[in-house]
């Protein structure tokens, strides 16, 4: 049974958001998601990265994305040493991004009391 964590540490720079998409694409493919779902996952991850980069941090140089891959689920967790990066989405100004993330992923945890910024997951659908 597969249960692996892959960590990607990125600087707060717009030019590396595409790197997160690239890594997500490879890992989602490994689990067995179809191309359409992989595109959805890439968009959701990119939305979060873009927002993190836009906010930035005064105390940290980087943020971390942890991809947990198991046989049927991809869980993506975003974290940063900067504890002030918590509720990153503004429900008034980021409605497009919030709608997209919620629609494309199976579960999304925002503004939690946990020590990460945001966590979301996508489950492989059984083909009957």
């Amino acid at each position: 049974m597969m249960n692996d964590n892959i960590e990607l540490i990125l600087p707060f720079k717009a030019e590396y958001v595409s790197t997160a998409r690239l890594v997500a694409s490879g890992l989602a493919n490994r689990i067995g998601f179809d191309i359409e779902t992989i595109e959805d996952i890439k968009v959701a991850i990119s939305e979060v990265c873009s927002k993190i980069v836009r906010i930035g941090s005064k105390v940290a140089d980087t943020y971390k994305i942890v991809f947990n891959i198991s046989d049927k689920v991809l869980r993506v967790t975003f974290g940063c040493e900067d504890g002030s990066l918590k509720c990153i989405f503004d429900f008034e100004n980021d409605q497009l991004a919030i709608d997209i993330i919620n629609a494309l992923m199976d579960s999304v945890e925002m503004c939690t009391e946990n020590n990460y910024i945001l966590s979301m997951s996508k489950e492989l659908e059984e083909i009957v």
Binding site: S18, R21, D40, S46, E47, I100, L104
Partner: protein, 104 residues
């Protein structure tokens, strides 16, 4: 490293056609915004955005389309979007923007 975006502008008799090739994300969006604003202001014609070669867009890019539409409406002009790939059309539907733009 980052996805690139190319923009080809073609002047038609009653509109300006812009063909996008590549990816629109946080890295490429500022350049796109400036170019689209410039095209709308210089031409004051309807804008046709051909997305046949557009491989990726996120809310940053969608926001730029909306902002450009607002600018076009100042001159009583519209934006028509052509050839959206299914994964991108899905984002327009999720966000309700399929009802805001003329999509063909």
């Amino acid at each position: 490293m980052s996805g690139e975006l190319k923009l080809i502008e073609e002047k038609l008799s009653d509109a300006v056609k812009v063909s996008l090739n590549g990816e629109v994300d946080i890295y490429t969006s500022q350049d796109l915004k400036e170019k689209l604003y410039c095209i709308v202001e210089e031409n004051k014609k309807d804008l046709i955005i051909d997305c046949k070669e557009l491989n990726y867009i996120d809310s940053t890019g969608l926001g730029i389309f909306v902002a450009t539409l607002k600018k076009a409406k100042q001159y009583d002009k519209k934006i028509v979007i052509l050839n959206l790939k299914e994964n991108i059309k899905k984002l327009f539907i999720i966000t309700g923007l399929d009802k805001v733009f003329e999509i063909k």
